[in-house]
């Protein structure tokens, strides 16, 4: 028996670590590969712009809204969903607005943040754990910045219609809370993450096409923002 046996053991462990590092660096997840393709937000925005809720629809007719009572009526959309790519990060971001309340999800499959906030005067500000999103709304887009753990990225998210947009599923299993989040873009690109417990331990979630998602045998039903906008508590 060699006196160097223990050193070989350490060396094999080190070699295995390097091999795992090389393999992990090469096998990057799909959403990271998507960053290699530049997403031209300007070319996708105009067609969507027509679908955007026109601000003129939202202010009430003159007889119910006395013009002298307040400054010009807030033209912030009452109900709208935005989703798009975060530039230089590979993640996606989705923002949904319902009557001044706003919810957002930022995720690249690995890191994620749920945020909540307010939409007024065509701007939206959302806060979450280690996360901040600010965006201006207009022209069928939400354009702004995601800040996450001291880093900052720009994004431009177009108005999207079902089945694109933001989804969330929650479940309670033996005292631990499971939260799933997904963002689907009209291009077919999607991202999702499932986490368990307060620590955020979890895994990238497979894309779903409606129906129930099963994670380690736990059934989860992704819901639209109307169902969870009041329950987000980052």
């Amino acid at each position: 028996m060699s006196r160097l046996g223990p050193v070989y053991t350490l060396a094999v462990g080190a070699v295995l670590t390097v091999a795992l590092g090389v393999a992990s660096a090469q096998a990057s997840p799909a959403v990271e590969q998507a960053t290699a393709v530049p997403i031209d937000t300007t070319s996708t925005a105009p067609p969507v712009e027509e679908e955007a809720p026109t601000p003129e629809e939202t202010p009430a007719p003159g007889e119910t809204a006395p013009p002298e009572e307040a400054a010009p009526a807030d033209t912030t959309p009452k109900k709208v969903d935005y989703a798009g790519v975060v530039q230089g990060n590979g993640g996606l971001v989705a923002i949904s607005i319902r009557n001044g309340k706003a919810v957002a999800y930022f995720c690249d499959g690995h890191i994620e943040a749920w945020l909540k906030g307010k939409a007024e005067n065509n701007t939206v500000t959302l806060e979450g754990k280690n996360a901040l999103i600010t965006a201006s709304l207009g022209g069928g887009k939400a354009q702004g910045r995601v800040e996450f753990k001291g880093k900052s990225w720009r994004f431009s998210a177009a108005v999207v219609k079902k089945p694109s947009g933001l989804y969330r599923a929650t479940a309670q299993v033996r005292g631990a809370r499971i939260v799933g989040g997904w963002i689907k873009l009209p291009s077919g690109q999607s991202v999702g993450r499932l986490t368990i417990g307060e620590s955020g331990a979890g895994e990238a979630a497979a894309a779903f096409d409606g129906g129930v998602v099963t994670w380690y045998g736990i059934p989860l039903t992704p819901t639209e923002p109307d169902a969870f906008i009041d329950t987000i508590n980052p």
């Binding site: 028996m1 006196r3 160097l4 046996g5 223990p6 050193v7 053991t9 350490l10 094999v12 462990g13 295995l16 670590t17 795992l20 590092g21 393999a23 992990s24 096998a27 990057s28 997840p29 990271e32 690249d108 499959g109 690995h110 890191i111 299993v173 033996r174 005292g175 631990a176 993450r193 368990i196 417990g197 307060e198 620590s199 331990a201 979890g202 895994e203 990238a204 380690y216 045998g217 736990i218």
Partner: protein, 186 residues
């Protein structure tokens, strides 16, 4: 083994022999902690086929390592004459169960550090992060102390006992948590 018979006259020089292994082990533990803190979590690392996800992979590999760690303790006790087995199989079993247990933990720790990183925001995760860094530091110390002749007699029992304790702590804060919250899933 001669090193079990060391007494006072040699004690100082015997402890000095441990200086390099302990310093290297401390450096390993510190380096892992610093890497876990500074490296931005990728959230993704290669996993092993056969499991439905990295959480299950980590839970089962850690369980395998913990079971082999029990073999480690039993064979070590036999080698030190505390259990009534003898035979040429005891030492190779100890050596190879230890090697396999260590290699089982490498993909787990790699995923933890590369994909997740050290975290201190929840007790379970904080304890797990600290125990994980200490485990590899003490493992390096033990591997480097093993071939040295004349180290204090308590060296291997103490280091081995620490490794077993740390691995059980790591198992409790990961696999046990996984099996009791998500369930016994592959």
């Amino acid at each position: 083994m001669s090193h079990t018979q060391q007494f006072t006259p040699h004690r100082r020089s015997a402890i000095v022999l441990l200086l390099v292994p302990v310093l290297v082990g401390g450096a390993v533990a510190t380096a892992l902690g610093v890497y876990g803190e500074l490296h931005p979590p990728t959230g993704f690392a290669v996993s092993l086929a056969g499991f439905s996800g990295p959480l299950a992979m980590k839970a089962w590999l850690t369980t395998g390592a913990a079971l082999l760690a029990i073999v480690q303790v039993l064979t070590a006790m036999a080698m030190w004459g505390k259990l009534p087995f003898e035979g040429g199989w005891v030492e190779p079993t100890h050596r190879w169960s230890g090697r396999i247990a260590f290699l089982l933990t490498v993909p787990v720790a790699f995923h933890c550090l590369y994909a997740v990183g050290a975290r201190y925001d929840e007790p379970r995760v904080m304890i797990h992060s600290i125990l994980g860094c200490l485990f590899y530091g003490i493992f390096a110390t033990k591997m480097l102390a093993l071939p040295k002749r004349g180290v204090p007699g308590w060296t291997l029992p103490v280091l081995g006992g620490l490794l077993f304790t740390l691995l059980v702590g790591l198992w409790l804060t990961s696999s046990f948590w996984f099996f009791t919250t998500i369930g016994v899933q592959f």
